[in-house]
Amino acid sequence: MSERIGVYVCHCGTNIAGKVDIDEVVEFAKGLDDVTLVREYKFMCSDPGQSLIQKDIEDGLINRVVVASCSPLMHEKTFRNVCTRGGLNEYLFTMANIREQCSWVHVDVERTTDKAKDLIEAAVRRTRLQEPLTKREVPINPRTLVIGGGIAGIQAALDLADAGKNVVLVEKEPSIGGHMAKFDKTFPTLDCSACILTPKMVSVGQHENIELMSWSEVEDVGGYVGNFNVTVRKKARYVDVDLCNGCGACWEKCPGTRVPRKGNVHEKLSLGPVTSIFIPFMQAVPAIPVIDAETCIRFKNGKCGICAEVCERNAIKYDMEDELVEFEVGNIILATGFQPFDPAQIGNYGYGIFDNVLTAVEFEIMNCASGNTGGNILMADGTEPKSIGIVHCVGSRDKNYNEYCSRVCCMYALKYAHLIKEKIDAEVYDFYIDMRCFGKGYEEFYDRLLGEDVRFVRGKVAEVTEVHLEEAERGKLVVKVEDTLVGSIRRIPLDMVVLCTGLEAHETLPAVANLCNVSIGKDGFVIEKHPKLGPVATATDGVFIAGACQSPKDIPDTVAQASAASSAVLSMITREKIEIESATAEVNEDKCSGCKICNTLCPYLAIKYDEEKGVSVVNEALCKGCGTCVAGCPSNAISAKHFQNNQILAEIEGILRSSSGQAGILA
């Protein structure tokens, strides 16, 4: 067997060349069996770099290619395309990762160089045994699933629908709108949140290309890019969507309540009715109520029925049950958003203990004209506060809770300070660590606030207490803080304290991410395909992300990412077809004993038992080449294309042979 392997060593600027002796590696590679030529270049992925390889193939100098550069995640596709363009089957190419797994993680030049040699030798030995495979194409279903109906999901759905594509938008709450629907004003322009969001919500509800499933949750996702099978649980609403006209008679008369009684004006910090049959806020889309079975008197003891009595349309259906709906889509956009950090975890801030310590969301609702205080800032006893403290970084930038910066709190804190000053005659203290105003118009907003008589104190609040040490503190909330710019400890008596709670990935994200086979980082958010160059894609083809499920985000960034995600989906749909991995599993029918173990092992349900032949058969369209069946087969009858035993063993031999004479690769 005489193969002609070309080895291409990339400097990657100084990324590789700074730690690996390129000349030495080139000399080494030249001495390997079947290697007919070795070239090095500053950036192999550049146009001239790619041309080098393509020309060598076209000139017939080589018939197999090894590129020693970065991670396959980065450029495997690039170099596979080079092979195809040159007329070589792309499966005759192997990438040796001498950057991420070598030059970036080691210090000593000599040993790093040795490791690079080992990795190249392994790649060369493997390449020699690789076989050409044929690319497969599958059609892309033009329909898209969007999970989450906050501003991210709304924007993504509308973009796709406006382009004429079908969208299924699944929202677990009774209405779309998400957090943005709870806000009064938005920073830094102070435009009314409802005014800009409501029209979009209405469009979603009316759009002929959008199927809205509210009060629903994704239960299962199967299949693969272009052809996902989705199961959605439509939770029982107990209200017939077709009959209900949203008149509101039911929630006006409902005697049940969803919120615990506090017995003060903060009791109902809610935008919509707090009854057991409710819509979450008045602009809800759809404007169809839902019965909360947990608190509904009828469901608890059967002794009520008022809503059914008052409903003129006979839309109340107590016997409704959850419904499972199955459908197919080509792509999925995850837009599950965030949930606010729960400040009750921080005992020293007194949330849940002191009535007038509020979270950001509570304060938003209090400020919202459609909220139950009518937009008035009131203390629990119904009076207006004379002084308010705004506390930044609650649960953010704190290794005891969340290490990351939540990105939006500084700005909404400034917005609160402004709203307070605008509405009432109160002294405002703003306690911050670093003021982060990085967006367009943000610094200017901070500048504006500096002129609005707000007392900025640089220091993280140590505690909020009701214990007074002097008369002026009696009956007040006392904030203990070091004014770090002055260098002195202060006790500041206040009437109200607003905690700027950070953003966390929504609690439903892990389950949804698991269904869609995408990974979650240690911060709890989805890991994107590439932090800079692939911010809306994930490692799973056909699954995209938008909004705060990827990281804390403000509205402008969320909308931008949502549009980017829908554009990425559109580019997939427009292609109509997509090439999928050829490296699938195949069953050697002579060896197969028909035990069916692989049938149950396969996570993609790609293996079926052929009764007639008495053997198992792989459905190549479903197979993802994961290798589970290969490892599980007791008769050694299944092999994975491109990951054959002899190929892998050759690779291992290459590594173990070790150019340096010592086992250099440990990880």
Binding site: N348, C393, R397, D398, K399, N400, I433, D434, R458, G459, K460, V461, A462, E463, K480, V481, E482, D483, T484, G487, S488, I489
Partner: protein, 190 residues
């Protein structure tokens, strides 16, 4: 202490490293000066530098000013700063480390009695293996301010009357073994 008169010229660039290499000091490098420690500290009002500022001084290398400050002597080991620090710096442990360095290098000033208190305590424990509160207080007062003996006579009598001030000290049996441990440990000091 006049905070504007830190000894610029005496900056010791290795000081941060010195502290960061002591157990508990590893994360001092991460301090972002939020002041949670100072705001939480029960004795910050009597310190000449707040804990936050002291850490800034450590990072900047004001070794002499740090060791001359009373800050760490006022640490009561209540650990409130340690559990609250958003950077998870073991602040209390750093305060202990500063005390040890100050005692070894004789930064202890007369008017600051903590050093004398601690040394008296340690002398008794190293001798008997147990602490003996009456002796500790008498020793400490003699060392620092003998008029304290008079000022605390009532307290002493009250405790004695209520059976809470023993006259005989308790000693452990294995005193020789304990001393051997201490001798060996001191040769292994960090």
């Amino acid at each position: 202490m006049n905070t504007h008169k830190l000894k610029q010229k005496a900056i010791d660039k290795d000081f941060l490293d010195e502290i960061a290499h002591l157990p508990g000091g590893e994360r001092i490098i991460d301090c972002f000066q939020c002041g949670t420690c100072s705001g939480s500290c029960p004795t910050a009002h009597v310190m000449d530098h707040t804990p936050r500022r002291l850490f800034a001084m450590v990072k900047a290398g004001f070794r002499e000013d740090v060791l001359n400050s009373n800050t760490y002597w006022y640490c009561t080991s209540c650990y409130i700063c340690t559990v609250r620090c958003p950077r998870q710096i073991k602040i209390t442990d750093v305060m202990y480390a500063l005390k040890r360095i100050a005692l070894k290098e004789r930064y202890v000033r007369r008017k600051n009695a903590a050093g004398a208190f601690y040394s008296s305590f340690v002398d008794i424990v190293e001798r008997d293996g147990r602490s003996f509160e009456p002796e500790l207080m008498v020793r400490f007062m003699l060392k620092t301010d003998p008029t304290l003996l008079l000022k605390n006579a009532v307290l002493g009598l009250k405790l004695m009357k209520h059976g809470r001030l023993p006259i005989r000290r308790n000693r452990i049996k294995a005193r020789n073994e304990l001393r051997a441990i201490i001798r060996k440990a001191k040769s292994e000091s960090l």
